[in-house]
Symmetry: C2
């Protein structure tokens, strides 16, 4: 993997870059659609690509449990299995295991957990997650980290950080395939000095890229932004920076502002399946009766296939009728919204006008909250 | 609408033809994928077209109840609403109302029924179904008929036939739009003389095409084929002949043999969603453990997108994981299987070798039942 920093915005930390991987290039800042179980839910890989995605994310936890990483390896790896020829980033499975709550137990060795599918017992260690991700054959692998809940007292945060650092070292040492990149993950809860310590320790080990984990775990938005602002600038400039699991379009805008290069979130795809559509005039809850006879597209001026060919009335009909196509068409729109946003962000950085772009965008979003969009419905 | 009979097979009743409609041509014998609620479940219209479909079927009953024919008319008609630019045939809603059982009551005026969605009361008459279908703007409309259950005594069959004839006349008289074709439907249960009487009466009224209804209602296969063989040759040669709701690939082969030009059935799409896939070597139940590590496509040699790009192991994984893409990819394969079958049938008729083609096909299907396919699973 090779990261090239093309330019930096003069007014903030925003960066334009390019990551070269064995499966192609990733233009940064990049948004990675989530393909949890070996599919971006509802879409063909060709559709995902044509919406503007350079890279997708696969979930190690899910693929390990079903269909199993050995099976995927035997069938030629995840790219071939799911027919996605572009770059893939796999997470470590740590966050899913953390989310299992009572079904998991973590100690220095790793995490013992029970499958959410059949209750079977499993053990995930730093070495094991690298082994799984090498079997999957992703272009970018993630270290196993310990994510802790919000709020966390300083002592727990410190312990989780220590463990995360030790695990990062073990991941680095366990890695065998030089074709696959490995990213470290910064923890440290919402303590700026712990975050700084986390960054320094990861940099000593040395990774191909650095991620910020442990955000968006229930904390107030301001605290998230504060911690992001305190952490991102510490990360090495010459490596890609990834803000994990984030987030809303507004969050992405803030992340880019702070110098983040990569994002992932289930929001565009999950919201789509629930009939919540993103537009520049605010959110559209497509089941609402106000769209019953609405012949206009979801978002006027949108270049996506859904907006080019279908009315809100049709999308409402499909959604109310429970048709599969509702999820497909909604997902196309939402992903295109996110991926076009990334295109516009990259253009703005290239032109040195990202600060203005961000200001206008955030103002428009605030405005949409008041002007009759469905923003307050959800 | 204009029907052109291109050629007839020398060894049987099979016909090659062409129907011209305001929305394009239909090559016959044709299979019409079913788009019940304004969508062929799981697929984009472009996908349906590229699989080889010339025409799709829309369900008047469903579209009338939701979103409503007036709404669709106000939005420019069904073609525009659902973004399908090719020909559409709409049924009359009669069969769905018949299927409601206790929720409907039929008399000479029409049928009073309760919506399966919200229990609301509705009245469907011959005039009303034509009005609805004219609002939808389909290329081919169907008359309201009275379908009766199997077995039916002669007296009930006679009464239903009489009503069907009277309703056909009222549909013909109620029709206003000369751009839309109207097909009559032959009833008469499994009494050959009643079927003959039905055909004669419909021909007296005069329709753009003739359909055989009231088959595949639970009768033994042999009785279905017998009645088909006794009815189809009576239909006027110069108009298209449509066998409603049929059927399996074998049934279609028999229908073509007897001179049928058009078919529709939910089988390829519904089976796909249930993980049952059609192949020339018999059926594949994709959830079966035997496909867990199977790297081969669903059907070797199949030209569909699914078979060209995915393994049985991947399709099994998607199905077991409950992914939307399972339904999409399975539907693509099954529809392509059906539509390629129609292409091969048309080629065979064109070359005057349909009798041989049918014999080989039926022999292969019988063979598949014994050679380890999943045919006996369902």
């Amino acid at each position: 993997m090779k990261f090239e920093l093309i330019t930096k915005d003069p007014g903030c930390e925003a960066r334009l870059g390019n990551i070269r991987t064995p499966h192609g290039e990733i233009r940064t800042p990049a948004f990675m659609p989530v393909g949890t179980q070996g599919t971006v839910k509802g879409l063909l890989p060709e559709q995902v690509r044509s919406l503007g995605a350079d890279i997708i994310l696969g979930n190690t936890y899910h693929l390990y449990l079903r269909p199993g990483h050995s099976l995927i390896a035997a069938l030629g790896g995840l790219h071939k299995f799911m027919n996605w020829q572009g770059p893939i980033l796999t997470d470590s499975g740590g966050f899913q295991v953390y989310s299992l709550g009572a079904l998991r137990k973590i100690n220095d060795d790793g995490a013992v957990f029970q499958s959410h599918i059949d209750g079977s017992k499993h053990f995930l260690s730093p070495e094991k997650t690298v082994e799984i991700q090498e079997a999957l054959g992703s272009d970018i692998m993630m270290c196993l980290d310990e994510c802790i809940a919000y709020p966390a007292d300083r002592k727990s945060a410190q312990e989780a950080l220590l463990r995360t650092t030790q695990w990062a070292k073990r991941c680095r040492e366990g890695k065998k395939n030089p074709e696959q990149a490995l990213f470290g993950i910064v923890q440290g809860s919402f303590y700026p000095d712990l975050r700084r310590q986390g960054v320094e320790e990861l940099m000593k080990i040395g990774f191909d890229g650095y991620a910020i984990g442990g955000l968006s775990v229930g904390e107030p938005k301001e605290l998230m932004l504060e911690t992001l602002a305190a952490t991102a600038p510490l990360l090495p400039k010459e490596a890609p920076r990834y803000l994990m699991g984030v987030g809303t379009p507004e969050d992405i805008m803030e992340g880019v502002f702070q110098g983040i290069d990569m994002f992932d979130c289930v929001m565009p795809t999950r919201c789509a399946r629930n009939g919540l559509l993103f537009t520049n005039e605010g959110k559209v809850v497509i089941r609402n009766a106000r769209y019953r006879e609405d012949s206009s597209p979801v978002e006027s001026g949108c270049d996506c296939y859904t907006c080019q060919n279908y009315s809100r009335a049709y999308l409402r009909h499909l959604y109310v009728a429970g048709e599969i196509l509702a999820m497909v068409l909604n997902t196309i729109h939402n992903l295109r919204y996110y991926l076009r946003l990334m295109e516009n962000i990259r253009e703005a950085i290239k032109d040195g006008r990202f600060v203005e772009f961000r200001r206008d965008f955030l103002a428009r979003m605030v405005c949409a909250d008041g002007n009759g969009s469905d923003n307050n419905v959800n």
